[in-house]
């Protein structure tokens, strides 16, 4: 496998980094403090095409292959210091836009994808419920068949972008006996549909510029053509979207880790103690060397997984490996950077504490580290 970037990929990477640094970073400390979702910046990202990277051009996307999509997300993670905004874009794109692109009817794709790609529409993935976290398919939300379509009832929680979303991808039980084995279906619910509303908005430790909250569905009547894919196929739709998310979302971590590494190196080269830069001390240089090793290993895992996206269902294993490694590497790298920067790292102005707070969520969302290890174990025949 050759993962040297092509001229086009290099150019795209540089363009996204330039854009992110110029447009997305100013005021991030205040936004984080206020838990403010920057809708204006979301729209700018839409103009850049970030919300539709892999979607075919005919539907308003950029038509990138999965590896180039991951490279673009890595560039966003490197250039953008607003981890909540990066996460909001990734959750929208990978858990909502990709399923619509992959499984939507032609009418659904024409109706929703242009807006989802250009920033005009924000999407939320509604699967997690209060009583079923990692066991996502033990859901209580139901979709009962009616004369004109389906009636949805239930609630979802920890839904990224929920409070600001225009379109919800709701997973609901259409056959309780079958469960995930053909009994879960997916529906596209527009925000103005009677009975649908955004519930409680949560205050969080990190990712504070991404709005996360509850979704409430009370006798929500949707037409039959609101179903995404065929009845009972949502477990497969969800699994596919998680493969995309576990690879391309953590591609952002690669970029963030590279930014932290550079920050740590710059500090270690200029901060002096005892008359010499602290980087000359092995306690520091070895820690930074480990950060570099971690970065390059993560990048290879992510690129390898991204290059295989769409080829085979064995991607489920690759995605789990990439996700767990990248998320745990990001936490460790953020902690290492803080340790190297000492008291400065602990100060809000330096941005490291924010990355660390954001990173803590990465071993939880999109399947916890424990879930990823379960998946890997199962693929190994255990």
């Amino acid at each position: 496998m050759d993962f040297n970037l092509s001229e086009e990929q290099q150019s795209l990477r540089e363009e996204i980094i330039r854009f992110a640094r110029k447009e997305l970073n100013e005021g991030v400390i205040e936004r984080d403090r206020a838990q403010y979702f920057p809708h204006d910046l979301w729209m700018k990202c839409g103009e850049m095409g970030l919300q539709g990277l892999p979607v075919p051009v005919e539907y308003g996307g950029s038509g990138l292959d999965p590896l180039t999509t991951a490279i673009a997300m890595e560039a966003l993670g490197y250039g953008c210091e607003d981890g909540g905004l990066t996460f909001a874009i990734a959750a929208h794109l990978l858990a909502c836009v990709v399923p619509v692109w992959k499984h939507g009817s032609e009418a659904q794709k024409k109706r929703y994808l242009p807006g989802l790609c250009n920033g005009g529409l924000i999407a939320v993935n509604g699967i997690t419920e209060a009583a079923s976290g990692s066991d996502v398919f033990s859901m209580a939300t139901t979709a009962m068949a009616t004369d004109t379509g389906y009636m949805l009832n239930g609630s979802k929680t920890f839904s990224s972008n929920g409070p600001v979303a225009d379109l919800a991808l709701i997973y609901a039980s259409t056959d309780a006996e079958k469960g995930y084995r053909g009994g879960i279906s997916a529906f596209l619910v527009e925000k103005n549909t009677p009975g649908y509303r955004s519930g409680q908005r949560f205050e969080k430790m990190g990712l504070r510029t991404c709005s996360i909250g509850e979704l409430v569905l009370e006798d929500v009547q949707v037409p039959a053509d609101a179903m995404l894919g065929e009845i009972g196929t949502a477990a497969v739709i969800f699994a596919e979207s998680m493969a995309w998310e576990r690879i391309c979302l953590v591609a952002c971590h690669v970029g963030t880790m590279e930014r932290l590494l550079e920050q740590a190196i710059n500090y270690a080269r200029t901060r002096k103690t005892g008359g010499q830069p602290i980087g000359k001390m092995q306690a520091i240089s070895h820690r930074i060397a480990d950060m570099k090793i971690r970065l390059e290993a993560t990048r290879l895992l992510v690129y390898r997984a991204a290059s295989r996206l769409g080829d085979s269902w064995e991607i489920d294993l690759d995605a789990a490996i990439a996700k767990i490694h990248a998320s745990e590497a990001l936490v460790k790298t953020a902690m290492d950077t803080m340790q190297i920067l000492g008291g400065y790292g602990f100060m809000v102005d330096y941005g490291v504490e924010r990355v660390l707070r954001d990173a803590m969520a990465s071993t939880i969302y999109s399947g916890t580290s424990e879930v990823q290890r379960n998946i890997i174990g199962r693929w190994l025949g255990l």
Partner: protein
């Protein structure tokens, strides 16, 4: 190239016994034993099977086929042959 019915059935049965039913009696796995609704295949093992069918028989299954056409050895054989016929 299309694969004959018995070859598909034997290959898939051998895979299922090795991967998901180690130590079990092969005679207990018949052509109509419910794999999904019987709990032999969960979501992860279903995707492993789908990956196996792809690599072994060069067939790619869509969401509906994965959700609804893998419950027995007979079902699996039928869908593999149908997909090979289409190809």
């Amino acid at each position: 190239m299309a694969t004959n019915t018995q070859t598909i059935k034997d290959t898939v049965k051998n895979y299922l016994m090795t991967e998901f039913l180690p130590g079990e009696d092969p005679n207990d796995l018949t052509d109509t034993t419910p794999l999904v609704t019987g709990g032999i295949l969960d979501s992860i093992s279903t995707f492993k099977l789908v990956g196996f069918l792809h690599s072994k028989f060069d067939v790619k299954l869509n969401a509906n086929e994965i959700a609804n056409h893998l419950n027995t050895l007979n079902d699996i054989t039928d869908i593999v042959q149908a997909k090979q016929g289409v190809a």
